[in-house]
Amino acid sequence: MFKKDLQPGTKSKLKSSVQRSLRGALLSTYPLLTPYIDDVLPKKGSLESMKLPDRNTLYILDGTTPLFYQQDGPGGPVIPHLRLVHRYPQCFPTIRIDRGAIRFVLSGATLMAPGLTSKGGRLPADDADPEDLPEGEEMEQEVDEEGRWSRELKQGEPVVIMAEGKTEACAVGTLAVGTKEVKAKGKGPVVEDAHFLGDGLWRIAVD
């Protein structure tokens, strides 16, 4: 989505009410972020938004740290910037691609199912928890030592893409199909329009 270099747009300060609702949206999308939310989004910090092409909005903390971007205007999915993912990798659901797929993802290609179903890829285990955890158990999800998420992820959910043999995440995007279906079908696109390392959003100059 951000394959081309981005020109930084104009920044505008957010009202504190908008900031609050954004914080709520974040916590409902990423319950695991709850213990860190005051570090990610300090109550006193000033949050700015920047308009990007294709109806995307980037949220920047204190004019220096890009935090999240939002697709399709207000109400769209809130997706973390990769720098934030690198800071709090344990807070976001992950899938892993095999080594061969890395270079394609890093040049902006759509992530296809074989990169996940092969030996080096990691999808949630077969006996993983159902997609929707019951109320109050949102914190009961994590990544196991093999790199598999403990819960099936559903379509449209934001997901962090790790890579075989690497410790840092290489991309983040929303699932075009649920992980269950990926396993069943084994082909077709999985994550379209991801934000990946070295793309325009990664290189954007925020200050």
Binding site: P35, Y36, D38, D39, V40, R83, H86, R87, Y88, P89, R99, G100, I102, R103, L106, S107, G120, G165, K166, T167, E168, C170, L197, G198, W202, R203
Partner: protein, 197 residues
């Protein structure tokens, strides 16, 4: 207003080192296209990490996992990418070398002058910021104006052409001195009058 729960605040999050050349985490440098430079940078700045990522054993393990065919393809791809990055850099350098900055002294009113600077954006400078700096430095008005021929220039009030050149050279080291050109633009009343009629 002291924070009552300051004691058990969770940590600031992990701090990740990014490559100074391609800005990616060093383990992804191999996909950036500037592998050689990244390697040199990492070796100089983060020797520990360098040993972890670029040691022969690790590299061997990495390539062993791929089939021969895939290896070849990856190598070809990497080569192409590197060539592309190199070409882009060469082009950029050439552009830098051939672009000139014109400092023009324009007569306003016999004894009054303004100084116009054209061509700064070729060196990746933000005109607005530079204009502000110039205004501060010379304590005069300084603004960014559009030129009819397209593009933008900075207009500084007063005759500051010589000092301006020095200032630019000192502040922005990557501007070569021979690329700055001083021009004197006298208002020719007769010529202007002739053109008008």
């Amino acid at each position: 207003m002291a924070d009552s729960e300051q004691g058990d605040r969770p940590s600031e999050g992990r701090h990740v080192i990014y490559c100074g050349v391609c800005t990616l985490p060093p383990e992804y440098c191999e996909y950036g296209g500037t592998v050689k430079k990244c390697q040199e940078w990492l070796e100089a700045n983060q020797p520990e990490m360098y040993a972890k990522i670029w040691s022969p054993e690790v590299l061997e393990a990495a390539t062993a996992a791929l089939s021969v065919d895939a290896q070849k393809r990856a190598a070809r791809d990497a080569q192409k990418k590197a060539a592309k990055a190199e070409a882009a850099e060469a082009k950029q350098n050439e552009k830098l070398a051939s672009s000139t900055i014109t400092i023009k002294r324009i007569e306003r009113n016999k004894k009054k002058f303004v100084t116009a600077v054209f061509g700064l954006e070729a060196f990746g400078l933000d005109l607005k910021k530079v204009a502000k700096d110039l205004g501060k430095k010379f304590a005069t008005g300084s603004s960014v104006t559009k030129v009819p021929s397209g593009g933008e220039e900075i207009v500084v009030q007063g005759d500051v052409s010589e000092e301006l050149e020095e200032f630019l050279l000192e502040k922005y080291k990557d501007i070569p001195g021979e690329n700055i050109e001083l021009v004197d633009d006298k208002k020719k009343k007769k010529a202007a009058a002739a053109a008008a009629t």
